[in-house]
């Protein structure tokens, strides 16, 4: 251990204190904890919770490493102060609870949950620097992180990315299995960084897809199994020439997208200090915030253990059910989806032109050109748990979901900017503000959920709960009664109600329940 690390310190006090009662039992060991950190702390021996350490890492980065004064992930304990400014009535809100900078928080959550984060934004805004910091947090020396970082470029080959067969073996080997491969070191790291991934040629992108998607690399029938890791990719849209279209499957593997916001000129002093004092933050990361492999494993388990209450799950279900449904895409009920139309290559304008009868301004599904995949929903749940964990909560709140949702869906939910919603003058800005639009979309879905009073009146929820209790002991009479209830509910919904996405999902679920009871009834009758 380097001695200079001994007293590099991070916040000793709780970074997000909760109003827990003071302990009645005191520990005399606390006497020796305080403003001066002791050598043993630098060895990683620490009894603090991992989420506290994660917050310390976040605050160290925000306060020391990255000059990022944007607190765009806003939490409020009470009504926040807000001000309206300018001709366009821009609203500035001063959050009343601990709020965060997405540019630092999302990478930290990605690091903790071992997912994949894409930094976007113009050149020189700290995208690569942030990614390097994540590597250092995982315990790698800065030099190693820099060397392991893969820089996308138009000549990048699969060998550049994954490794080479040993030349001597290529000459002498009698069988392909005898050819040994020199794998690239980055494949074995717990933090993987791909800089400017949109400059990687398409063929090499496919090799990258295998590593990102399936966590292994393959050359000449030899397979390298990669450890579980967090991925950080950067894309520079302003690069000009030399960029490639990123294959869709690769885009789909990215879990969150975070934008590097512009530099605030009021922080020029900090830049000047760094030049004059020749200090690079990534080289001065305090050892107290560096995570061991075991800690990373433990943190992932703790994140998974965070609870998502059923009422929050229902709102996520309701939100996600809005988008896939497309009434005119097919004849058979199950195929009435945007994906059906997309696979058939139907022109989008023609499709929406035929979609009549519904209020296209009110229908949230009309704002998007696609629906949400299973992978996206799983990612949303993971990040909702991760942010709750980061904040020291054991249970996900609605605000947690609301805050992470735009970053998860950023590249996944494609806006139909020709939709009537965007023609409303106050919504026009959402054509360029994807984060704001997604958050608004979630808010609108929640408002609709409340209007329908689904928290209290959810007949399908009751039927589902009944089914979840199991079929053991259910008599023929009872099964028939349940089938009748399902049919009655569908008939009721069919009376003059227009079809919306959430109803479509509910109806398919009712069909599923109906089928399960039908099969069960048949089984009862034959035994």
């Amino acid at each position: 251990m380097k001695l200079r690390d001994v007293f590099q310190r991070v916040s000793q006090s709780p970074t997000n204190p909760h109003a827990t009662p003071a302990p009645r039992a005191f520990d005399v060991a606390d006497l020796y904890r305080g403003p001066v950190s002791e050598a043993s702390a630098a060895t990683g021996a620490s009894d603090q919770p991992l989420n506290e350490k994660l917050r310390q890492a976040y605050f160290w980065i925000v306060n020391t490493a990255i000059i990022s004064p944007h607190y765009d992930i806003e939490y409020n304990d009470e009504s926040p102060q807000s001000f309206v400014l300018g001709d366009s009535k821009s609203r500035l809100t001063l959050p009343s609870a601990q709020s965060y900078s997405s540019f630092v928080l999302l990478p930290i959550l990605t690091f903790a949950a071992r997912r994949k984060c894409l930094f976007i934004g113009g050149p020189g805004r700290g995208k690569t620097a942030s990614a390097i910091l994540m590597g250092v947090l995982a315990g790698y020396p800065v030099r190693e992180v820099r060397r392991a970082m893969q820089h996308g470029h138009p000549q990048m080959t699969i060998a550049d990315l994954l490794g080479n067969p040993l030349p001597a073996d290529l000459v002498n080997a009698q069988r392909i299995e005898d050819i040994r491969i020199s794998w690239r070191a980055w494949l074995g790291m717990r933090v993987k960084i791909i800089d400017e991934y949109n400059r990687i040629p398409t063929r090499t992108q496919s090799a990258l897809l295998t590593v990102m998607g399936d966590n292994y690399a393959e050359i000449l029938n030899h397979v390298y199994e990669c450890p579980e890791s967090a991925w950080f990719l950067t894309a520079n849209d302003d690069q000009g020439g030399g960029t490639y279209q990123v294959i869709e499957a690769l885009c789909d593997r990215i879990d969150v997208v975070v934008q590097a916001l512009s530099f605030n000129s009021r922080f020029l002093d900090d830049l000047l200090a760094r030049i004059e004092e020749n200090v690079r933050p990534e080289e001065a990361v305090p050892s107290q915030i560096i995570f061991s492999e075991a800690e990373l494993d433990g943190m992932q388990e703790e994140i998974r253990a965070v609870e998502i209450p059923s009422e929050i799950r229902r709102r996520i279900e309701f939100f996600s059910s809005q988008f896939e449904f497309c009434e005119v895409a097919a004849d058979q009920f199950e195929y009435k989806t945007k994906d059906t139309a997309r696979l058939a290559g139907v022109e989008w304008g023609a499709l929406t032109g035929r979609d009549t009868g519904r209020d296209r301004l009110k229908d949230l599904g009309c704002q998007t050109m696609n629906g949400l995949s299973v992978r996206v929903l799983m990612t949303l749940l993971v990040y909702a748990k991760a942010i709750a964990y980061f904040r020291g909560d054991g249970v996900v709140s609605l605000e947690d979901v609301r805050q992470v949702l735009p970053f998860v869906l950023h590249e996944k939910l494609v806006a139909d900017t020709d939709a009537p919603f965007f023609d409303v003058p106050e919504n026009a800005r959402f054509r360029s503000d994807r984060v704001g639009w997604l958050r608004r979309l979630f808010d609108l879905a929640c408002a609709e959920y409340d209007r329908l009073n689904l928290d209290r009146d959810d007949p399908l929820g009751e039927l589902n709960a009944e089914f979840e209790r199991g079929l053991e002991g259910v008599t023929q009479t009872e099964a028939r009664a349940r089938l009748a209830r399902i049919e009655r509910l569908i008939a009721e919904w069919a009376k003059g109600r227009k079809l919306y996405g959430h109803l479509y999902d509910d109806l398919l679920k009712l069909k599923y329940l109906h089928q399960r009871y039908t099969n069960y009834l048949r089984w009862l009758q034959t035994t």
Binding site: L3, R4, R9, A22, L31, Y32, P35, A284
Partner: protein, 340 residues
């Protein structure tokens, strides 16, 4: 004038030390070379010299560790010419040289422990950091190892006013060699340490430095053992005269919508912020023993009486173990009465 040994060490790793200073400036913008250099010269130099006199081969590592600790302390204005807290600096001058042998063995651990303990004592009202420095410096060299030295420091913190550490400190006391225990307890020479440990365990109001007059059982009557807390305007906690309540052996104090847990014994009294529910729950179970009565401003116990009229009429009272806590209408303090 800086000692030659320290000057040599700093000179040998000059670039590294300069780099650390620059790094620390990023964390502590108010850190100045002048203040930091002054602290190294006036204080750290003496500590390094003390270590070099007993373990010269450890001088370099100790100096490096102290340098970093000093950066943290000066950076946070906890020591140095402009600091309002003289005790940490005094601890460096007195305790660290006295414990040079332990500092040489585990520099980071010992330097941080001494600094943090003094910080802890300094920020806790009504404690005696100067006592901690005095009683720990005496037996430091006699402690056989670093762990014993640090355990002695924990007991000394209790006797210097951190009453909430009483249970832990009593347990640690049993593990200390008798001469070390006697020194940190400030016990008169010739004290029977086994008996003393028993007295301390049995009676929270027993004071070993005053074996004749201390203790709840001293004499047959009741006595005011301590007054704790004060008006916020005078640096205390309370915005209005407090009320007390007890639950089991715990005392709760409420004032102005806030609540604290109060720990108290012969060595001190400390308040710990607590949820209001602590006081509310305790209040419901409030009950004095039959032998004890509180009326007006008087407390009666087994035929003896105490008049607390100077602080007004008694507004609340509670018993926890051998302590009666009372509050009065004209006072922002809690009066703690030792019960026999």
């Amino acid at each position: 004038m800086i000692s030659e040994s320290f000057a040599d060490i700093l000179r040998a790793d000059r670039d590294e030390y300069n780099r650390r200073f620059v790094e620390a400036r990023l964390r502590y913008p108010a850190l100045t070379g002048e203040t930091f250099g002054d602290f190294l010269l006036r204080v750290a130099d003496g500590v390094v010299a003390a270590v070099c006199s007993v373990r010269p081969e450890r001088g370099r590592e100790v100096a490096s560790t102290l340098y970093d600790a000093a950066l943290e302390l000066v950076g946070q204005n906890l020591v140095g010419a402009s600091s309002r807290n003289p005790h940490i600096e005094e601890g460096w001058r007195t305790v660290l040289p006295a414990a040079a042998i332990h500092l040489a063995e585990a520099p980071g651990r010992v330097a941080a422990a001494v600094s943090n303990a003094l910080h802890h004592l300094t920020v806790t009202p009504d404690t005696r950091p100067d006592q901690w420095i005095r009683v720990l410096a005496l037996p430091a060299a006699a402690c056989p190892d670093v762990d014993t030295f640090l355990r002695a420091g924990q007991v000394a913190a209790w006797t210097s006013g951190l009453a909430h550490y009483r249970p832990d400190a009593l347990a640690i006391l049993d593990t200390l060699p008798d001469p070390v225990a006697a020194a940190v307890l400030d016990a008169p020479s010739g004290t029977d340490m086994k008996e003393l440990r028993g007295l301390l365990r049995d009676d929270p109001w027993y004071d070993p430095s005053h074996p004749e007059g201390g203790g709840a059982s001293a004499g047959s009557g009741i006595r005011v053992a301590r007054r704790a807390g004060a008006f916020r305007g005078f640096g205390g906690l309370f915005t209005e005269p407090p009320r007390v309540a007890a639950q089991g052996n715990e005392l709760f104090v409420a004032s102005g919508g806030e609540c604290w847990l109060l720990t108290a014994d012969a060595f001190g009294a400390t308040f710990h912020r607590h949820g209001q529910e602590g006081f509310d729950t305790a209040k419901q179970g409030i009950m004095l023993p039959a032998s004890l009565s509180v009326t007006g401003s008087r407390v009666r116990f087994d035929g003896t009486a105490l008049d607390l009229g100077q602080w007004g009429s008694i507004t609340s009272s509670a018993v926890a173990g051998r302590t009666l806590a009372v509050t009065s209408s004209l006072s922002h303090s809690v009066t703690l009465i030792a019960l026999p």
